[in-house]
């Protein structure tokens, strides 16, 4: 059986981990198979969980989160017959599939929509833990917003520097209020559980928000502009479907293979105008075709559109 | 007996604290409008009895009658309701509250404080007028002196309209002038028809102010007599329980060179109270200097400074060399290194560690000694145990089991352990405080013999005791302390308990001569 390990936020974080869970559930529904799962409670459990699953014969083992990187590089060589898939991190081992997403591309589209929807000329971003990965989201978002409106102001805040930053809705909510006071009327949250506080406050205060990872439009219908989809579910689904024959190596999910994107559904149709939509689609086409190159923060740890 | 009901009648009161029987089947009658004294040695059970009357402790057995009616006193609330007020030996005041707040506490008239305080303020003025009990109602307790604090305690009782006032050793902490003032107030209260129970160790006070007096000994009530029909001598006999003074067989001392020379020793405690005021004294090798005095007149501080527990100012010479009274070397370790042994006044708080085994207590304080250590780091527990066994044998400690915890020994045997430890050290100077407090008669005798034997070996001994007979029996010279000063020195053969007792109360020989007439006039 395949197994999946969720990161600290838990599988019902309505965001990253939940997307992974959805992917696994879809696989189970469609194939009638079962999978083992565990929600991590602490950093120290990572290696233990991996080993326990490997020992128990689970294969492949999927894990959602960059933080598994160092544990997996320890464990993978010990179980050469087991296949592993890690999301959001590159682990260079023969039996590991590393899936990374071009979040900057999806965020770019979210930026375009935000700039179009903003009436104040200020949009904002709230990240979870301040790490290069999250800066990549912010940077893509800022580039998109500036592309749609060169005069726009983009504010960016990070919730914290530790794992707790993923699960601090109180702080998320206060950061949102602070950004509103600075004029922002669209806020994009890439912050796991903290984002729930951001979306809630945005809804309470009557501004628009942008969700992340999963489709979060339904959380506050008519108040969430869109969600930057990161198809973790697809990656998990695919890894489980491939099963023990999974091809290993480096795997990039981007706009072209629908690994990232923005969400449109009945919850936000009233918010998205036709003009906004066509501009977004046009940009998406250009990114896929290579006419627009979205700068990736992680490539050189710098961002042309935003200061951190 | 009169036909008026006694204000208080206790019948068959018993109370035990664990193995200690503090009160044994005590009965007592106190008539209204009188001052009734209670005397007894330390630990005789006086405070316990009064705490039972005030509902602070619960008696194991016995009945209480107030004005002839049987009254249950399960807690202090009930005692207050029955018209009883008590001034505890250790005051029960909230230090950082004002006088007014302390008076009102527990006797407020409703949930709001304002009206209660206003009423109390008026009442305090009335009480001050009536009894001369003046205090500043807005002063904080921690900022006023003990005499004032005691007034607050009395005011607390009067504010609660107490008809019966219990005072537990009220003068222990007072200056003579303050004490006199207190007694004037008590006389006033008596004149108003209040009943007063006065606990004290001081025979003079009993003779001066009480109408009747009860004597307690080892948890029992040994006698109740009319003050006018008794004498200090008789009361002392009743207190101690035997007619003859305990005499220790000893040869005359052969004092040699001075071992301890104290000049101008002053001590001021943490609260800034001047405890020792220029003490001068000398103890020579081969003699016992006895320090007599009422507890709290500076004897404890004297022992503590000499023993290195407290710091002081002045000059102290040991075998002719100055010792450090304040600096790095003024601690128990350095004193022991210089040949000072110290039997502390309170063996349970200081002399012993109650949860340590006897063998550990034997090394306590001397744990740096080479013979108890295998190396710089490690102690030699086997040697300690061996040593303890020998000491227990020599001092007849029962049971002779070094592994027993100190708390499992009786008071006398605990004291023997301390004595064995300190005496066997072969010190030049032995400081010894209250050597027989709470110790049974057999042990007292043994301890006294040890002290004399040590003297005969040519050691210098400084003995502090509140027991006059003990001082008389052991000392080669007697110094009397009062209010942090030495009142004078006497030779045991040339003085008696009466004279010493008066000196202990701060009186000179001349005043002492006039004393009996005074007592007769007032009594």
């Amino acid at each position: 059986d395949p197994a999946i390990i969720f990161d600290l936020g838990g599988k019902f974080d309505k965001s990253f981990n939940e997307a992974a869970f959805n992917g696994a559930s879809r696989w189970a529904e469609e194939t009638g198979g079962t999978f083992k799962e565990i929600e991590l409670q602490s950093d120290a459990q990572r290696e233990q969980a991996l080993r326990r699953f490997a020992e128990s014969g689970a294969n492949p083992i999927v894990m959602a989160g960059f933080a598994f990187g160092s544990a997996l590089s320890e464990v993978a060589p010990d179980y050469p017959d087991t296949k592993f898939a890690i999301i959001d991190m590159v682990v260079d081992q023969p039996n590991v599939r590393s899936v990374v997403f071009n979040e900057h591309e999806g965020s770019y589209l979210a930026g375009i929509m935000a700039a179009n929807a903003s009436e104040t000329g200020t949009v904002s971003f709230i990240g979870g833990m301040d790490i290069p990965l999250i800066r990549r989201f912010a940077c893509g978002y800022a580039q998109g917003a500036k592309a749609a409106n060169a005069d726009i102001t983009v504010i960016s805040n990070m919730t914290g520097t530790t794992g707790a930053a993923w699960n601090d809705p109180v702080k998320g909510s206060e950061l949102t209020k602070a950004q509103i006071s600075q004029g922002s009327d669209v806020v994009y949250a890439a912050a796991g559980g903290t984002g729930l506080g951001v979306l809630q406050t945005a809804a309470d205060e009557g501004i628009l928000s942008i969700g992340v990872d999963s489709n979060q439009n339904y959380l506050h219908p008519g108040k969430v502009l869109t969600s930057m989809l990161k198809r973790v579910d697809n990656a998990v689904y695919k890894a489980m479907l491939d099963g023990t024959d999974m091809e290993t190596g480096f795997n990039v999910m981007d706009l072209s293979n629908r690994g990232v994107g923005v969400a449109l559904d009945e919850n936000n149709e009233g918010l998205v105008t036709y003009a906004m939509l066509s501009e977004t689609y046009a940009a998406a086409d250009k990114i896929i075709s290579g006419d627009i190159k979205v700068h990736d923060y992680m490539s050189d740890e710098s961002c042309p559109a935003l200061d951190f | 007996m009169t036909d008026i009901a006694p204000a208080i009648e206790l019948k068959g009161i018993s109370k035990a604290f664990g193995p200690v029987q503090a009160n044994k089947d005590i009965s007592i009658r106190v008539m209204p409008g009188t001052i009734h004294g209670i005397i007894g040695e330390n630990g005789a059970g006086k405070s316990t009895l009064m705490s039972i009357l005030y509902g602070f402790y619960k008696a194991d057995k016995g009945e209480v009658f107030i004005s002839g009616r049987k009254t249950e006193i399960p807690d202090s609330q009930a005692a207050i309701a029955a018209g009883i007020g008590m001034v505890f030996q250790h005051f029960k005041l909230v230090e950082n509250f004002t006088v007014l707040e302390n008076v009102v506490l527990g006797a407020e008239d409703g949930w709001s404080l304002g009206p209660s305080l206003r009423k109390a303020r008026k009442e305090l003025i009335n009480l001050a007028d009536e009894y001369g009990l003046n205090v500043d109602p807005d002063a904080l307790i921690e900022e006023i002196g003990v005499g004032m604090q005691q007034r607050v305690e009395i005011l607390k009782a009067l504010y609660r309209q107490a008809d019966i006032l219990i005072l537990d050793e009220p003068t222990g902490v007072l200056t003579p002038a303050e004490a006199d003032q207190l007694f004037r107030i008590l006389q006033r209260l008596k004149a108003e028809g209040k009943t007063i129970i006065l606990i004290t160790h001081k025979l003079r006070e009993i003779m001066d102010v009480t109408d009747t007096v009860s004597v307690m000994r080892r948890g029992e009530m040994t006698a109740t007599v009319k003050t006018s029909e008794t004498s200090p001598q008789q009361l002392a006999e009743l207190m101690v329980g035997r007619k003859v003074l305990l005499r220790v067989d000893k040869t005359p001392a052969k004092p040699r060179e001075a071992v301890l020379e104290v000049k101008g020793l002053n001590v001021t405690d943490d609260k800034g109270v001047h405890r020792l005021k220029g003490i001068d004294l000398t103890v020579r090798a081969g003699e016992v200097l006895g320090i007599a005095g009422v507890a709290g007149n500076g004897q404890s501080e004297l022992l503590e400074v000499l023993g290195g527990i407290q710091s002081g100012e002045g000059s102290v010479k040991l075998n002719g060399a100055e010792i450090d009274l304040t600096g790095r070397h003024s601690d128990g370790q350095s004193r022991r290194a210089r040949g000072v042994a110290h039997v502390p006044e309170d063996r349970q708080r200081e002399g012993l560690i109650m949860n340590f085994a006897a063998w550990e207590n034997t090394g306590f304080g001397y744990h740096h000694d080479d013979r108890y250590n295998r190396s710089r780091l490690m102690m030699d527990n086997a040697a300690l145990r061996q040593d303890t066994e020998e000491k227990m044998d020599r001092f007849d400690v029962r049971p002779p089991n070094p592994k027993l915890a100190a708390k499992s020994f009786s008071g006398g045997n605990q004291q023997k352990i301390v004595l064995a430890r300190e005496i066997e050290r072969n010190p030049d100077l032995l400081l010894i405080g209250q050597p027989t407090r709470g110790v049974d008669i057999g042990a007292i005798e043994f301890i006294h013999q040890q002290i004399v034997a040590l003297r005969d070996q040519g050691k210098a001994i400084l003995l502090v005791s509140v027991e006059l007979e003990e001082i008389l029996a052991l000392s080669d010279r007697i110094a009397v302390m009062f209010d942090g000063q030495i009142m004078g020195e006497r030779l045991p053969d040339e003085t008696d308990e009466k004279e010493l007792g008066l000196m202990m109360a701060g009186m000179t020989r001349e005043a002492a001569a006039a004393q009996p007439q005074n007592a007769a006039q007032e009594g």
């Binding site: 809705p169 109180v170 909510s173 209020k177 006071s181 | 202090s76 029960k92 909230v94 404080l113 209660s116």
Partner: protein
């Protein structure tokens, strides 16, 4: 100059008030308990369990008032355990507090997982299941007035009910402690329980009352976190606020008005930590967030060490009252 004044702009101060509120409620809770001589390092745990139950019951019933009641009840239950351990059985108050914090940390997640299966959180609360901000009359109208407008609309007004309750608790606490019989006795029992006992008042009764009040106030603090500041419970959502409240209590030297000041200061430190950009602008260099996080604790240690105005705790604090062996 403007950069510096920005540190005290309305939004920053507004956030300070919101973040200071749970600290203030917990601090006053601790004040009642410690003034009565019962140390309480279990504020954190009581807040946490109240946060969970208020959110859970609010969600299940749709009524924030029922949620509030449940939160208070849960917190009071832990108070009773603390009282049982430290008053009835004369146990160690600190150890009991440590145990209570663990108990709350574990139980909330355990129950949340069992009830809602959302990884130790409750579902988001909506509408009447939350305390919503109270709009002051004409707030919108006044808003454009410079300074006074925003101050009226969002600094003074526009908070959840519990914020006003917390602030009202300050004079109320002061009044109860210093102007009522109960307060006099309560303060006395923390200073010298023997004095209270001999004055004919029950020490056990007073201390239990104080501990219960502490429970109620912690209940309010927890409910505020989950139903006003946030819309639901997440695991460990108190995030050390109980300890900051404890620090504030020492900082305030166990006095109500000082407690308000201390909590506002610590709330402000938390608020300003959310806006490092303002700090950088004001001071011209980057101020470490970690320093701001640690500042309440550092200040408290300085106060405790008596370098700046000594904090003297209630004298009988931490010790069980034993008059008889």
């Amino acid at each position: 100059m403007w950069d510096f004044l920005n540190l005290f702009s309305v939004p920053v101060l507004e956030t300070s008030i919101r973040l200071a509120t749970p600290l203030l409620l917990a601090c006053l809770a601790g004040l009642f308990s410690e003034r009565a001589g019962i140390f309480d390092i279990g504020l954190e745990g009581k807040m946490l369990i109240a946060a969970f139950f208020s959110a859970a019951i609010s969600f299940n019933t749709g009524s924030v008032w029922l949620g509030l009641g449940a939160g208070i009840l849960a917190s009071v239950t832990l108070s009773i355990i603390h009282g049982l351990a430290s008053i009835t059985f004369r146990g160690n108050q600190l150890i009991s507090g440590v145990a209570i914090n663990f108990l709350a940390a574990g139980m909330t997640v355990l129950i949340a997982q069992s009830w809602f299966k959302q990884g130790g959180r409750t579902p988001q609360l909506e509408g009447a299941a939350r305390f919503n901000p109270i709009e002051f009359p004409f707030a919108e109208t006044f808003m454009p007035v410079p300074v006074a407008g925003p101050v009226y609309a969002s600094l003074i007004g526009g908070h959840a009910l519990l914020v006003y309750v917390a602030i009202a608790m300050v004079p109320l606490t002061w009044w109860v402690l210093f102007r009522t019989r109960f307060g006099l006795r309560l303060r006395a029992v923390g200073e010298n329980p023997a004095a209270v006992d001999t004055a004919g008042v029950s020490v056990v009764g007073l201390r239990n009352a104080a501990v219960l009040i502490c429970g109620v106030l912690c209940g309010l603090a927890g409910a505020y976190l989950a139903t006003a500041l946030q819309a639901g419970f997440v695991k460990d959502m108190t995030a050390g606020r109980g300890y900051i409240a404890l620090a504030a209590l020492i900082f305030a030297k166990w006095r109500p008005w000082y407690a308000l000041a201390a909590c506002l200061l610590f709330g402000y430190l938390q608020a300003i930590a959310l806006r490092p950009d303002l700090l950088t602008a004001a001071f011209g260099f980057k101020v470490q967030i970690q320093l701001l996080d640690a500042l309440p604790y550092i200040l408290t240690v300085v106060i405790l060490a008596g370098f700046v105005g000594k904090a003297i705790p209630p004298r009988a604090g931490g010790a069980p009252y034993v008059k008889e062996r």
